[in-house]
């Protein structure tokens, strides 16, 4: 029963993530050297990949996405939401009759992967690395998969954005807290958050494990972060800044004492797609504001 409640709360959290964002859509109406193949019907199963396909001007070809694909917001009207890649099954994917399935190797359920492979539909599963180079490689790979070689401008944009990052003299220790229902997880090494914190001039507060681990009060006190970092939806779910300060162990840390809590859009933080530079700049600004 507990699990059911947890599952339901995860679902609620996930659905609440899907709020429309500020209209910041880029117009990629430049004609590329190769005319985009418009007869493709693409299913994209990761926020970052969805963004890349859209930024290359193929948004119209996307017929289905996963829940992490929150950007561009216009997709909501045109692509079917297929749920979370951990619990997705093959039939709803087949129901949108895709000609191409693009997925990330992160998080995808192995049974689903097996089914996708045996379905005979062309599918690409990309190795995703949460680095600048990894993102550029992903952009190049996705572009190749959809037959559009005009991707250099996306990589250039990332570089241009990253140049705007201001160095921070004293690197703040940042603890990312992932609030799902009443389960609090913190991000260790090799997570998109840790990587983004590094790019933005901060330091990830916990580095003695990989991926996500449940948060313990002692570990929080020991890590003693200067800033707490949340997804906007996660912070809302945890009861806003008030709720975050009441979390076990937080009051004893620098972040708790100085009430330094920041939040960003989940899709922007964890996408590691064309908006990587934007995300790093936004976080960099937030860190600078909160280290004064």
């Amino acid at each position: 029963m507990k699990k059911l409640i947890l599952a339901a709360s995860i679902l609620m959290a996930v659905y609440s993530c899907k709020k429309a964002e500020g209209a910041k859509t880029e117009n990629t109406t430049e004609t590329s050297s190769e005319a985009p193949k418009s007869n493709n019907k693409i299913v994209t199963l990761s926020g970052g990949i969805t963004e890349i396909v859209s930024a290359l001007g193929h948004e119209k070809e996307i017929v289905g996405t996963d829940v992490t694909s929150t950007y561009p917001a216009t997709l909501k009207a045109t692509a079917k939401d297929l749920g979370h890649v951990r619990s997705m099954t093959i039939e709803p994917i087949m129901a949108v009759s895709p000609t191409l399935i693009l997925a990330s190797d992160k998080d995808i359920n192995p049974d689903l992967l097996g089914k996708i492979k045996s379905s005979g539909i062309q599918a690409e599963v990309f190795k995703q690395e949460y680095t600048i180079e990894g993102t550029k490689k992903l952009i190049a790979d996705v572009a190749k998969a959809i037959g559009n070689t005009d991707y250099q401008k996306l990589n250039d944009k990332i570089d241009a954005d990253l140049k705007q990052i201001q160095p921070i003299a004293k690197k703040p220790k940042v603890l990312f807290i992932y609030a799902r229902g009443n389960m609090l997880m913190v991000s260790g090494k090799n997570t998109p958050m840790a990587s983004l914190i590094g790019l933005a001039g901060g330091e990830n507060a916990v580095n003695d494990f990989e991926d996500f681990k449940p948060l313990t009060p002692e570990a929080v006190v020991k890590a003693n972060p200067d800033i707490l970092f949340f997804f906007e939806t996660g912070l809302q779910g945890a009861g806003g800044n008030e709720g975050a300060l009441k979390m076990p162990g937080v009051a004893q840390t620098n972040a708790g004492k100085n009430k330094k809590i920041i939040a960003m859009d989940g899709g922007l933080v964890s996408g590691f797609g064309p908006r990587l530079g934007e995300a790093a700049v936004e976080l960099n600004k937030l860190l600078i504001e909160n280290t004064k």
Partner: protein, 346 residues
Amino acid sequence: MRTQSKLYFYLIVSALLLVILAVVALYTGVYDFNGASPFSVLGQLIKGDPGLALNDKYVIWDVRAARIIMAILIGSMLAVSGTSLQGLFKNPLATGEAIGLTSGATLLAAIAIVLGGHFKQYLPEVVQFSLVGISAFLGALLAMMLVYRISTSAGKTNVVMMLLSGVAITSIGFSITGFLIYISKDEQLRDLTFWNMGSLAAATWTKNIVLTVVLIISYIVLLPKGKALNAMMLGEKDAEHLGINVEKLKKQIVIITSLMVGTCVAFSGTIGFIGLIVPYILRLLFKSNYVFILPLSAVLGSILLLTADTISRSIVAPSELPIGILTSLIGGPVFIAILIKFKKSL
């Protein structure tokens, strides 16, 4: 002879119901065959029609049909294993989950996945499945032997001991499995819901072939044992006098139920309560006459699991509910009903 013809009548009626349900299940799903009925698509497939679209073929055969057949096979085996266990322990509360078979199977399956992960890529698919399947069988068998040793002496089963040793084995199994899942990097293992709630989403024909082989072997041994189990109800001494080899019968039930439960757990995780609900319903109809309830549980188990699975994949489409939620929802109240009914005799 009259009982024979009565039994056949019930078997045929329930088999027909199962066929109707299978057709309904074939029509249930989010994929649309461009207006064609799933039945005609299946017909095209069987005829080998070259005009059949690849996607249609895949969905009808490798997704829906594979899953329906898996539900039929697993539901049937879980129900029969429950019925035979209750005959062996002479108690309506004995089921795979209650006495720890399921968690024993889960534990060894998880260990096999962790260890097997290191050389998985060198093994053909059938061997991989068999490895996990065999481990799950051994886990169930060990749990079974342990519970039987602890709870039964001189042919008498102490129910409290049986249930308590089941609880103990379940908690040990759960904790070790939980630890393995926690430290594991293996995607397959990380899926906790699969192990705790079960799922038929990963049905494939390879798995169905393995399951069918296990089912046929098991049923050849078990299904004719109705009369012997009826005799066991009188007590083991009396059964011996009637010419039944009690020791051999007990050994067969122990091994075969472990085999069935183990295989089902390896392929579909923990789907609870089928082995409890089905015999219970049949007992309401036929008292404890195993000549009836053993073969009928084979069909009723399929009916129940196929219904539950069809609901689970249509109720929250396009995603699906873990099937264990549905079976437990029906099973929990039945368990309580049994407890109340047998309050005095437990």
